[in-house]
Subunit: 346 residues, 2 copies
């Protein structure tokens, strides 16, 4: 995918679910790596991980560990990012951070390359990867905005447990087994039972009654699209699916559109795949999206409740488009446009 | 619950999932029955079913089987209803029909008693029970309309497999077991794999790209609320939950409201229970609702995308509020208001 001189890459949070997906995506896309450092918390420090047939030790993160690194792909949670990202930047590395730590920082570009790659030109060492729910939504919204002007967005999510990490995936599986065998299984990772159930609660509750997840979708979407007052509301729900987030989206538009125009606009995106043949009952579902790169969109139809509106259903692998794949695409964009050193002129 | 002279009751579709729930609800509520006839298709005809400690044979439906019956509770699907409901009415019975067959017929009241019980006064022998998704939505919408005027409704559903019948419940269980054991299980009841997956497809697709289920919610809500032009749009999704439908709802209102006003309005309904303490992470989930009578509402918050809007999350046992319980409540209302014979003056 990317040509050019191989670079030195560190992965912060290499042993986590997204860390593993990062390694898979780097390998699949043959990302040009001259040196790879795998970093994770002390409890993982004796581990080693295979990449392209070679085993790499897992080291603890430290200023030293970032020395001479070109790009850090960070996915170890907000707290770890707050602690180590500044150290990495001080060492001269560019950090593409998956956590929520810097996303709303005005000096940090928040990027889905196909939507607002240009924002990378302004980076000062840290680039933020959006929340998975936002990442798969904005490519569609961008296309609609260009087509007919976005006026308002209403999103209901159906989010898989992998968004809450490996432990949540294990919890879904173990709890499901226990219930099928007539037993019970007390939730320890998620807030409530997830097997054969739904949890309308992702991340913490805020004073306005929304969860942090729901407000992230609002704020991050506005920032990525460059529409700081876009009206948007979100209900975020965890569903008993392993991998793949889905979203039911209603958009009010400035101008009337046809289903055919919307399909064409979506299909024109480099990362969207339209899977939408209602007469043949063809539409995307999360198991189709798991392990795949595209953002899949189906169920496109004219809104029955507004003058110029459209409804659709977006499905994507949240670990890929919502995290690992988007981070690697950001890195590729920076290499292609020679932006790694842009931070030097800050 | 109901006093008065016991009446003769027939259940059409007695062996189905809703038929069984009807018997349970009749027993729980001590509905006054002087004679009970259980009717089901030929393949069930040698079965017998226990009710209040006595076994009843399952008979095939026929004009004869409805003779002298006061109320028929019908839940055997659209085709069976089209065939047998007119026969029952000819025999002088009142039919409370769970199917889609007569819901949009102008001469047939479509009723959730707590919302539009008055409509029962106009019945001509047939009363329709709304679709389960509509039945749990309209009590909330009625309260909001009375509080601040409904302008627009946007609904995303999370519907359990029991809405597709017993076979779909078995399919979810068997498929889940097979997948956990590393095997596979081809769907035969639902359109796609439901275990650890989502299916944005309930009932048939129509020419406008919506499913019949989605359009039912629009048309039935308008009819029940007496708001024939209410703007409403719905996305209906099947989720891997056994019993209990959930809905994420956004309502635009004529006037500004506070969360506290909305909570009070919902709590004032006889059938809604507000379960909404975000600071304590208290909200309804489908496993809490299964087997229970109330419509549970939580996640009440002011819409971040409109001037006067509100978001909420509605959960209910789809077999009860969406079918059996609502049908029995209709029957109770008719007994209480002496409406069984109203049809005689047609």
């Amino acid at each position: 995918m990317t040509a050019g001189k191989p670079i030195k890459v560190a992965i912060l949070g290499a042993t986590g679910r997204v860390g593993q997906e990062l390694l898979r995506v780097l390998e699949e896309r043959n990302f040009p790596i001259s040196e790879l450092r795998l970093l994770a918390s002390a409890r993982s420090k004796d581990a080693s991980i295979e990449f392209k047939g070679k085993r790499y030790p897992v080291q603890e993160p430290s200023a030293e560990a970032f020395r001479e690194i070109d790009i850090v792909l960070a996915s170890a949670g907000e707290e770890i990012s707050r602690k180590f990202v500044p150290l990495a930047v001080e060492q001269g590395a560019c950090v593409i951070d998956n956590s929520n730590a810097f996303r709303m920082d005005e000096s940090v570009p928040l990027v889905v390359p196909e939507v607002n790659g240009e924002a990378l030109r302004q980076h000062k060492g840290v680039i933020a990867n959006p929340n998975c729910t936002t990442a798969q939504l904005v490519p569609a919204l961008k296309q609609l905005h260009d087509l007919a002007g976005l006026k308002r967005v209403i999103v209901s999510t159906y989010q898989s447990v992998s968004g809450a990490g490996k432990e949540a995936m294990d919890e879904l599986e173990q709890q499901t087994r226990a219930l099928l065998n007539g037993g019970s299984h007390t939730p320890t990772v998620l807030a409530r039972q997830i097997a054969f159930n739904l949890i309308p609660h992702i991340d913490k509750f805020l004073d306005n009654g929304y969860t942090k997840e729901e407000m992230k979708v609002l704020h991050e979407t506005r920032k990525i699209l460059g529409l700081p007052t876009l009206p948007l509301t979100c209900t975020a729900v965890r569903v008993p699916v392993a991998i793949g987030h889905s979203e039911a989206v209603t958009c009010d538009l400035e101008r009337k559109v046809s289903v055919e125009q919307v399909r064409e606009a979506f299909a024109a995106s480099a990362i969207i795949e339209v899977v939408d043949q209602p007469d043949k009952a063809i539409y995307p579902t999360p198991i189709d999206a798991a392990g795949q790169d595209p953002v899949y969109i189906g169920r496109i139809r004219i809104d029955t409740s507004s003058e110029n509106g459209v409804n659709f259903w977006v499905v994507a692998d949240n670990l890929r488009i919502g995290a690992a794949l988007n981070a690697v695409r950001i890195a590729e964009y920076m290499l292609e446009h020679d932006l790694l050193r842009a931070k030097a002129v800050r």
